[in-house]
């Protein structure tokens, strides 16, 4: 197809560079410099999509990022499909493949359009009203069907092969928008030496000027030269960063602005080594918003047919892209500015009829239109349009003196309808800065008022429209911003320009015969919301605009109501009998336009998604075939299967080895904190429940840390290395938060204490050597420490050397066997581990993982904080009262433990459970009930916290928290499971060697 609607000359396209592209498989041609929308229009393609709810045919409405209709998918390959792109922003490249959305089987013949015939039955809130019951039907039937029929576009099916970059930046002045106001602001700020960043969503600087036939001419004398010179100067200035194809999508506290820079979407052959997008987080001392204004559509019946466009957009397509969107046009307007579009179209050879709803439009522009020979109907409304896939005619009716549609009607044949209800300043970013908005009667729009942020607005986004005034306004804003960022401004700083009255009529819908609300008069194109839907919502009792928004879904689509919000507001306000400012605005949410997930993920993908922490022994374990598990960020060896062993078999073997010979366990992930200073012991006394003053140097103690609410926060072995030095261990997951809690008390409650806290978690490798033969293995490697039971009893600590390496040796056991924990500097961890392993081989030494560690400790009834406790467990609940220093006047949590509720006999207490059937292993987290025949719903009296099969005992064991558990020893309780209630007997939580003779060996 030829580009039949392309003008003979003019525009900013490169006519020497034709570009081939496809739309729904159809091969078309455009030029370099086209957008997909302009190229489609040049080919006479107005039908570009189907609407969300009714599947009505829809065409291009706008020429910018506010586009609600022409939303397409662009496909490079199966992985690189980007849905929901605005065709008005997609830059044409050779081979571009675009697809319409929301249609089946084809755009021209859409089965879903039956919804349009059913539209009287799909009013506002339809989904809420119809699909209420039954709940299962919602999940299985309604929701999938609705999602299939509605929805916007399809997600790609493969992982995204593109890369995305992130960048932080700082500047004195960030200018958003590179139209005349933004350019002037950037230039005047830069003239003061400011570090300036200027961003604009378009590929070219100039903003609204790019839609003029002669860009710059409207700025007044030497306007063209000023425009060219300003752009040249900014690009050449090393202190100015100019970012095109860059959307400022969010305004965050303290002048942090999110920018989305599109680097390669416009290229035919993007370099896959380069990022596709770069997300900037810019911290600006001062922000100038020059975000312009968006033309408002008019609300009248059939205002959504393909070929109905915003007046300014038609003008932009003509002047910037050399596309005549139609040859027989009707302009419907309530606003003077739109006359420019009519005049430009006329000059390009189209016939234009003007329908102005205002009475006696007598502005200069209207006069000029009449002089040019255009027909101008004033005091006239539109009561309908015709044309299935493209608008064919407009039905107009005269308004009487009261503005009622009562006069003669007339049909005007056409192939293009322009509409304009005036301009709505783009206050999105300003509002996101928590800026307050003020209603302007003269402009019939909300304008920026006060913001807590260091931000100012310039140009059309604050209601200054005429080109010359916009430029002055920008210059003033830029100079003020430079001054307020702390720079000396040597030129005279001009005042901001006064806000201008636009002559626009009030927003809302055009009058209809009988004063009835019009059918199919769309307010929100993308979400298919009509004026009737809004009136219905108001009639049904919705008063808050936020509720109306959610009920009707107006303003909730990907365009976030850029073209629709004010009209919706005006219609609701009229129905409620209130003024627009009384009804108020809905929140302007970020992002301004959709931002890809990839850009938020940035580099944080795959292996870089989260840091991975490994111990010095990790690679050794990996070579032994260990299966790892994630514990926080740590990789921990869970078990070491041999010859394809199952988890169960490996754990049984590893347990057996520890109980009968010796096992080797990498405990390096334990948190470690060195507590040092002359007041270290006082600090420990105040923090932990235990007594520390009487802990001798060279001894360890099992420490319990509570929060001040009395519940267990962490636990771990603490060794006294010297009078003024403690080696504190924490749980693997608790290391950071325990240190943070220690710092908090030390810095803010007890700053008088002379104590230093250092995290040493990464400095020590911890090797646990456990089992009856542990001492024999160790003796071969340690010379300067007496390992005998008399010299180093259970809970003894010593410093010395192993294989010549300095070590801290603790005789501790988390297995119930004779055991040692050998702490060596992390760099020597692997060497010492290998030496111990070699020395242990004659003794059958067996490396074991966290699963075996769990089973062994559960056999001994040792709790794991966070598994057997959950933040509501006191030391007494866990059977750990013995650890509390009885003589201590205070420790963190002590006062809370004295509350009556904390020693109620009805509290949940830690007990053991033995299943009636020894081979049944309970499910961790399972509930426990009293009654054998209990069926849901029933009140549980506790839950299983740990459950394993114990090879040592030849049966399953479990730990549980049970209400008044210690008074229930021997009692039979029940664990309801899908197959029936399992009988369990309450026992002591210590299943193995209750006297502790083995670990004292």
């Amino acid at each position: 197809m030829s580009q039949g609607l392309r003008t003979a000359s003019g525009g900013r396209i490169n006519r020497a560079r034709p570009v081939r592209f496809t739309f729904d498989g159809r091969e078309l041609r455009g030029f370099e410099g086209d957008t997909l929308a302009s190229a489609l229009l040049a080919n006479g393609v107005h039908l570009v999509g189907r609407s969300f709810k009714y599947h009505r045919p829809r065409g291009v409405l706008t020429a910018g990022s506010e586009e609600p209709n022409a939303v397409v998918a662009v496909r490079r390959d199966a992985a690189r499909v980007t849905p929901n792109l605005r065709a008005t922003e997609v830059e044409l490249y050779e081979g571009l493949e675009a697809h319409s959305q929301n249609r089946w089987p084809s755009l021209e013949l859409d089965a879903g359009a039956i919804n349009g015939l059913l539209s009287p039955f799909i009013p506002a809130g339809f989904y809420y009203k119809t699909f209420m019951w039954p709940r299962r039907a919602w999940q299985r039937l309604y929701e999938p069907r609705i999602r299939a029929a509605a929805g916007l576009g399809l997600a790609p099916e493969h992982p995204d092969p593109d890369s995305y970059s992130n960048r932080f930046a700082h500047c004195d002045v960030l200018v958003v928008g590179a139209g005349p106001a933004g350019l002037a602001a950037a230039q005047s700020a830069a003239a003061s030496g400011a570090r300036v960043m200027l961003c604009d969503e378009q590929p070219e600087l100039g903003g609204s000027l790019l839609g003029e036939a002669d860009p710059g001419a409207s700025l007044g004398e030497s306007g063209r030269e000023w425009l060219a010179g300003t752009i040249r100067g900014l690009l050449a200035n090393p202190r100015v960063t100019v970012l095109t194809r860059t959307t400022a999508f969010g305004y965050f506290p303290h002048n942090l602005i999110g920018l989305e820079q599109r680097l390669s979407d416009h290229l035919a052959q993007p370099d896959l080594k380069q990022p596709r997008e770069r997300q900037w987080q810019v911290r600006a001392r001062q922000v100038v918003l020059a975000t312009g204004a968006i033309e408002r559509p008019l609300v009248f019946p059939g205002n959504d047919r393909p070929g109905v466009m915003l007046a300014g957009a038609v003008r932009t397509y003509l002047n910037r892209y050399g596309v005549l969107a139609g040859e027989r046009a009707v302009l419907i307007t309530t606003h003077d500015e739109a006359y420019r579009s009519a005049l430009d179209l006329r000059r390009a050879g189209a016939t234009v009829t003007i329908v102005d709803a205002r009475d006696g439009a007598s502005s200069e522009l209207a006069e000029a239109a009449r002089r040019e020979g255009l027909t101008v109907h004033t005091a006239t409304t539109v009561i309908g349009t015709r044309g299935r896939l493209r608008v064919k005619s407009v039905q107009i009716q005269k308004l009487d003196a009261h503005g009622q549609a009562r006069g003669a009607t007339e049909r005007i044949d056409c192939d293009l309808v322009l509409m304009s209800g005036g301009y709505t300043p783009s206050v999105h970013l300003f509002s996101q800065s928590r800026g307050k908005l003020a209603w302007s009667e003269g402009l019939q729009a909300f304008l920026p008022a006060e913001s807590p942020e260091r931000v100012r607005c310039a140009g059309a986004c604050r209601g200054v429209f005429s080109a010359a005034a916009v430029r002055s306004d920008g210059e003033s804003a830029g100079a003020q911003a430079a001054r307020d960022s702390g720079l000396t401004v040597n030129t005279v700083i001009g005042e901001p320009q006064p806000v201008q009255s636009s002559g626009a009529a009030a927003p809302g819908d055009l009058p209809q015969p009988g004063g009835e609300p019009a059918a199919k008069a769309f307010v929100d194109w993308q979400n298919d919301v009509t004026s009737r839907d809004l009136l219905l919502a108001a009639r049904e009792g919705f008063r808050s605009i936020e509720h109306v928004k959610r009920y009707t879904t107006t303003g909730m689509a990907t365009d976030q109501g850029k073209t629709s919000n004010l009209n919706a507001l005006a219609i609701v306000a009229r129905q409620l009998g209130k003024s627009i400012p009384e009804v108020g605005l809905t929140t302007f949410r970020m992002p301004y336009t959709p931002v890809t997930f990839g850009s938020f993920a940035g580099y944080s993908r795959g292996e870089l998604f989260d840091p991975i922490r490994t111990t010095p022994i990790h690679d050794w374990a990996a070579r032994q075939g260990a299966v790892f598990e994630d514990v926080g960020l740590w990789k921990r060896a869970r078990y070491f299967p041999r010859n394809g062993e199952s988890l169960h078999a490996a754990v049984a073997r590893e347990c057996q080895a520890v109980r009968s010979g010796c096992g080797l366990f990498d405990a390096s992930t334990l948190g470690k904190i060195e507590v040092v200073g002359k007041d270290a012991v006082t600090f420990m006394e105040r923090l932990y429940v235990n007594g520390w003053t009487n802990l001798a140097v060279g001894r360890c103690r099992y420490g319990i840390l509570l929060r001040d609410d009395g519940f267990i926060y962490d636990d771990g072995v603490v060794a006294r290395i010297a009078e003024d030095r403690f080696h504190v261990t924490t749980t693997t997951g608790g290391a950071a938060r325990v240190l943070a809690m220690m710092e908090d008390y030390l810095q803010t409650e007890w700053p008088d204490l002379s104590v230093w806290l250092s995290s040493t978690s990464e400095q020590w490798s911890v090797i646990a050597l456990q089992g009856p033969r542990a001492r024999q293995v160790l003796e071969a490697l340690v010379q300067d420490v007496d390992l005998s039971a008399a010299a180093l009893p259970h809970m003894g600590a010593a410093t010395g050397r192993i294989c010549g390496i300095p070590m801290r040796l603790f005789r501790v056991s988390f297995t119930g066997e004779l055991g040692f924990e050998i702490n060596v500097p992390a760099d020597y961890g692997l060497a010492v581990w290998e030496a111990i392993h070699a020395a242990g081989e004659p003794h059958g030494i067996t490396p074991y993982g966290t699963e075996t560690m769990h089973v062994l400790r559960a056999e001994k009834g040792f709790v794991i904080v966070g598994q057997d406790t959950d933040g509501t467990v006191t030391p007494d609940d866990a059977g750990l009262t013995w650890a509390i220093g009885k003589q201590k006047p205070d420790f963190v949590g002590k006062r809370a433990l004295e509350r009556p509720a904390m020693h109620s006999p009805e509290r949940k207490q830690l007990v053991g459970l033995l299943t009636a059937q020894p081979h049944v292993v309970l499910t961790e987290g399972a509930q426990i009930v009293l009654d054998a025949r209990a069926t849901p719903p029933t009140l549980p009296i506790g839950h299983v916290t740990s459950s394993y099969y114990s090879a040592t005992l030849g049966r399953s064991i479990a730990l549980a928290l049970v209400r008044a558990g210690r008074s229930r020893m021997g009692q039979t309780l029940y664990v309801p499971m899908p197959g029936g209630n399992l009988a369990v007997q309450v026992t002591s939580p210590v299943f193995y060697d209750p006297k502790g003779s083995r670990l004292n060996a």
Binding site: F252, P253, H254, N255, L256, Q281, R283, R434, P452, D708, D709, A740, E743, D744, Q747, T748, E749, P751, P889, D890, K894, R895, A896, E898, R899, P900
Partner: protein, 99 residues
Amino acid sequence: MLLINCPYCGERPELEFVHGGQAHIARPANPAECSDQQWADFLYRRDNIKGLHAERWRHTHGCGRFFNALRDTTSDLFLATYKVGEQPPTQAQLKGATA
């Protein structure tokens, strides 16, 4: 993301900090003398202020120090940050600082 003025390091992004709740709630010197209600108030009762709020921050990924801040909860603007143990600036001092 807030920009926070650590009294020890200067302005740093919020990423480096951890919020520590309401400031100027001292742990009672003699908890044993507190009634259950007083202890519960110390543990759980916090102001929910619309306006100027004194709160604790810790420069966790920096100097590691706790400090206090006056923040306007309606605008998120900090009016002052100050060291632990210091009293918050008075309204008069704040006015003097911004004048």
